[in-house]
Amino acid sequence: MNTVDLTVDEAERPLPQLARQGLEVRALKSGILTGLTWLTAALAAIPLISVIYMLLMQGGARLFGTGVVEVLTGLPPAGFEQGGGIGPAIVGTLAMVGIASLISIPLGILAAIYNGVLEPRSWTANTSRFLAKVLTGVPSIMAGVFVYAVLVAHWGYSAWAGGLALAVLMLRTVVLAAEEAMAQVPQRMKDAAYGMGCTRTQVIWKVVLPTGLPGILTGVLLAVAGAAGESAPLLFTALFSNYYISQLSEPTASLSILIYNFSGMPFPNQIELAWTASLVLVLMVLGFNILARLIGQPKV
């Protein structure tokens, strides 16, 4: 057997080049891509900044100016009329979101209780959970089409129809979010309550709902925010009206439809009001969003 005699010098291999090679192909590629990523992020920020700037400049001029009361309470102007406001649209949006909330929140939370706590693995729970997810993928205008077929075709345009269309859209969000929130409640807490002799209903009312409340509220508020910003389902359910609603069974104005209608008009006054309405709508939606985030934050 041959043994190889190695001197110390021969045995030592040269150390690989470990310092960063800025001009090496790989490093160059990495550098270029990093630059591109920064560029992409900056580019994507432009529309957002532009939207916010326009909202504040065009909409803010009217909203934060002297005529704020007129803007928030006045009737929409017609044709060449100057001034005017978006009062009926604000009230209409609030009314229809209110109707939608009254229908979808209790129904959604109850369904979530059944799906998440009572019988999570039953056929009803599995199917309704699956269908709620399917409904999430359905375009929002379908809610309008559905309500048109069921209500509007027989009884005409109304706030009820608009509210119902929004309720269909809110329901799916509330069901899924509330179930997820209730799933966060530790099993041990429920077991402790069962051990005390509670019925399932008592466990739900005294343990699951209070503990899961922040999460449920977050989901509910996000659903409300989404509904307030919706326009497609209102287009041919609530239609539009230039006056304050006196009863819920007549066509009703909403902020989003007002923006849609006014955006195509050739009058600067209307276009300015469309921007103002946009600002009010965005503030409303963001308000619900921020509230949802604050409530949903884990308590330390």
């Binding site: 993928g137 379908m142 048109y148 910003g229 287009l235």
Partner: protein, 324 residues
């Protein structure tokens, strides 16, 4: 009846078997909860049945010719939605290409240590806020900012490269390009948020292992992080595509509602959702039936996209993430 739990009375009133009233309450409440859960099922069924019932006369009258027809003429009773199907798919694909690319790039930007993680959190919140801006507001922005901004560029492209199908017409106002751009901006937050979640789910060790082998940052991202997160990224893209298909108001305001099939980015077009939005309020009896049929077609397309997305996702999970 004797109390089976007599011991309970003597120990403490805190715990004990439920009383008859509590049992009754429990029954009733569970019944109500079941009814609610069942109502979700019933509602979905009712939506399908009702829209289908209303569309039935149109389905019988026009059959499959409705899908291949290119005319929408109320007076002659001719209805076809091929241009709308084309416009829906074309605008959504353009938006997906652009919004998807930017969304994923931003997700990489926010998760792969380009900026401090606190700053990334703030950016993330800003992106989620962007998702909350209603689509009519984007439509308004598109009409008064984007279209005037695009016009000179579109004119130049048409003059110089008019022979190229994408630029074969001039931008006269509303059209495919502004619609697709706004659509891209609208799906960007969805894509970015879900992709960020997908990157966050990757264990930190995996990144450390990649860097430990001497990869550059982008080799780690492109060869390790992106494949590992691929199913999540695909889910984000499918969801974004689905949203683009169903988006209504911004498109109704920006796409021009023209019943034509054109490859040109600058020609007006139409989508199924904006056809519904723009014709429904003034539609007569016959036209409503046709519109219900169009709504069913839209529903079928979104459903197909979602099912296909699920299948592709299953495939990538098997291929790249090694889970079975």
């Amino acid at each position: 009846m004797t109390n089976m739990f007599e011991a309970a009375d003597s120990v403490s009133p805190i715990s004990g078997p439920p009383r008859a009233l509590e049992y009754a309450n429990d029954r009733i409440f569970r019944g109500i909860a079941w009814t609610s859960a069942f109502l979700v099922i019933a509602l979905t069924g009712f939506i399908l049945w009702e829209v289908g019932r209303q569309a039935a006369p149109a389905i019988q009258a026009y059959g499959l010719g409705f899908i291949t027809g290119t005319e929408w003429n109320v007076n002659q009773g001719e209805f076809g939605v091929l241009p709308e199907i084309w416009g829906t798919l074309y605008s959504s694909l353009l938006a997906l290409a652009l919004g998807g690319l930017f969304g994923i790039a931003i997700a990489i930007f926010l998760t792969q240590d380009f900026i401090h993680h606190r700053l990334a959190m703030i950016f993330r919140t800003v992106i989620e806020m962007l998702a909350a801006i209603p689509s009519v507001v984007f439509g308004l922005w598109g009409i008064y900012i984007l279209i005037p901004l695009l016009k000179p560029g579109a004119e130049w492209l048409h003059d110089q490269l008019g022979w190229f199908p994408l630029f074969s017409t001039d931008l006269a106002g509303p059209g495919m390009a502004p619609a697709a751009l706004v659509l891209a901006i609208m799906i960007l937050p969805t894509v970015a948020a879900i992709t960020v979640d997908a990157f966050h789910r990757i264990p930190y060790k995996i990144k450390e292992a990649a860097y430990g082998m001497g990869t550059t940052r982008w080799e780690a991202i492109l060869k390790v992080m992106v494949p590992t997160a691929s199913s999540g990224i695909l889910a984000a893209l499918v969801l974004g595509f689905g949203r683009a298909l169903g988006e209504t108001m911004a498109l109704a305001m920006l796409i021009g509602n023209a019943n034509q099939i054109s490859l040109s980015l600058f020609s007006p077009a139409n989508t199924l959702a904006s056809l519904l939005a723009s014709t429904f309020p003034e539609a007569g009896h016959l036209e409503v039936q046709a519109l219900m049929y169009a709504a069913l077609v839209l529903l079928a397309i979104t459903f197909l996209v979602n099912v296909m997305g699920q299948m592709v996702q299953q495939y990538t999970i098997r291929k790249f993430e090694g889970k079975r």
